[in-house]
Symmetry: C2
Subunit: 359 residues, 2 copies
């Protein structure tokens, strides 16, 4: 019953992909457990150094012989002026002080050339370590990179938030496209027209994309259980990618406070903010997001703002201060549970089968 293009291409039993959440959530244990339970585990490698990547890939290979994947952020050029950094630092200083961060070390502001260089090294690692699946967020890599990965039989997945972005992914040679609905937690994956809203709910996005591409579609955003899986399949998707549902699992590397916040949150507490990284992302509203609201438009771009807030994010996290942490979550926190990856996947499949029987 779940024998379709996606399960075939990705060599998985169930069409369930664990979203590649960056920033320490996707521990080797999480990724391997997903792949061992019949889904596709994914490393969120967006912020990793090539060495960290290699280490984790090898660790996962020790724990599973099944397919797993990795996600990279596609770099795009960004402006960075000293004035903008200075003004952002002035805005952030009172927040740093509330967290006891009085002495700011010299921050190494990223430059596009270095970011691009790192990306190319990351690609090299993916190829050398023969990672079976590679997905991309924030854009589409060059045809040179795509061709290289394809020559090594690596399955390629792109991210799209509109029909146009999905078509571009298909045209670029992606094997699969993940459509990210407005419900999704964490970073928005839009890459055409940055200023544009492109917050399309999955009920609208999936069928309109499916009608306009021929590659298989995976849906992402607010999907937490067998109901979301079956709804996605009815709308024409071949599989689902789930983030928040895996984030609260026991194997995930998210902090306990992050997990607890999601487990007690309501659907209308999630807001979009670019104040943590410079790119819009969805998370639980807190003091930091509220205070930064009026500065949203003037903050530096990704990844510059991300660098500037690194200290705030890590200090608030180690101080267990929810008010200044990036508490990413999709719009379905009431459906989140604390459970093992294995029971999450088993529950999804059982529920999906029950839904089919009841139809």
């Amino acid at each position: 019953m779940f024998n379709n293009k996606i399960t075939k291409l990705l060599h998985i039993q169930y069409p369930i992909i664990q979203a590649p959440m960056a920033g320490g959530v996707t521990t080797s244990n999480l990724v391997a457990e997903v792949s061992n339970s019949g889904g596709l585990g994914m490393i969120g490698a967006g912020y990793m150094t090539p060495n960290q990547m290699r280490e984790q890939i090898r660790e996962i290979k020790q724990s599973t012989s099944n397919f797993f994947g990795i996600n990279l952020f596609v770099p795009s050029e960004f402006d960075v002026t000293q004035d903008k950094i200075k003004s952002a630092n002035q805005i952030l200083q009172p927040i740093r002080e509330q967290l006891g961060l009085h002495h700011i070390d010299n921050l190494e502001i990223p430059k596009y050339d270095n970011v691009l260089e790192t990306f190319n090294e990351q690609i090299k690692i993916v190829i050398e370590e023969k990672v079976p699946v590679c997905s991309f967020t924030f854009g589409i890599p060059s045809s040179k990179v795509i061709n290289e990965l394809k020559q090594h039989n690596i399955m390629l997945m792109g991210t799209a938030t509109t029909v146009k972005e999905a078509i571009e992914n298909e045209n670029a040679g992606m094997d699969i496209v993940t459509v990210q609905g407005s419900e999704a937690g964490g970073h928005r994956g839009n890459f055409i027209n940055e200023d544009h809203e492109s917050l399309i709910g999955l009920m609208s996005l999936i069928p309109q994309v499916v009608d306009n591409v021929s590659i298989p579609v995976v849906s992402a955003g607010g999907i937490m259980d067998g109901r979301g899986l079956m709804a996605s399949i009815c709308l024409g998707a071949k599989g689902v990618q789930m983030g928040t549902a895996f984030l609260t699992c026991t194997e995930s590397g998210a902090s306990e406070i992050h997990k607890e916040e999601i487990l007690h949150a309501h659907e209308d507490q999630m807001v979009l903010t670019r104040s943590f990284s410079g790119k819009r992302a969805r998370g639980i509203k807190n003091k930091y997001i509220s205070e930064m609201e009026k500065h949203e438009a003037t903050l530096p771009e990704f990844p510059v703002q991300n660098t500037l807030t690194k200290g705030i994010r890590s200090a608030s996290s180690s101080q267990k201060n929810r008010e200044f942490m990036s508490l990413w979550s999709g719009q379905s926190p009431r459906l989140a549970e604390k459970q093992t990856v294995n029971s999450l996947i088993k529950n999804i499949i059982t529920e999906a089968k029950n839904i089919i029987t009841a139809l």
Copy 2:
């Protein structure tokens, strides 16, 4: 297979409700055709006088003996100051002039007491004319009104955009709650915390509401075909309410230009604006919405702003000028088709059956 609580309560063959779009879209022909084709036709009576309502109800009864419904706007108190009206009129004046509206008649600015009085008269008509189903948007009527309608065996449907609003609807005695996802076209139905976003996609909203109320749930927003119907059912809804899909039908009273604009639109052209009525609503972005963007926060509340823009909306419509019309639409315009109501409903059911067979 569609024998469930909704079809039973509403005495319909298929769990398909035509959304009660106000402003002339829901002609008697449209409403009757929906009810004659196995769904529930609904009159969008929000802007109607009691007499207009009575007339249309009687007309529909001539064309169908099946159940149909009516929708009313629940009034809430609003502030209106002469200063705010003056400043809004100054903003609107250049737009009026572009449309050749040089002489503005004295506009009759609505007062809350009058709006409430009209609402009570509307309720009286619903009872006198024995309309089988009555739904509400923008709030929940008083328990006095609810009890009166219930005593006359009128089925009551409320609107909710969050779990909390759905629970309030259930507690107030509604028989059914319609959950409006962020995908929906036209006015947002939120009524708790006006400033709050509450833009929850249906993939998240349906299951979270279903888990928290015991009355049956109808889903609304971006649903256009059998895929949307089956997805909603998988998520736990018992039926769907569809607006845009019926708006482009041949029987709908929407202007030809409005229909054509939807038939040629893309999913990412739909934006939220409060510049037409004072309440946020989703429609195709045009010059009017763009020009008013910077004034969004300062415009008068609903229904005052709606009165101020009446001339602009009707002049642009009769001049077939898409740039100043309110082109309401949900986020799935690529799925819209020009067809009869009967074939729309038949296609939905055929597609839904095919989906079930394929599972």
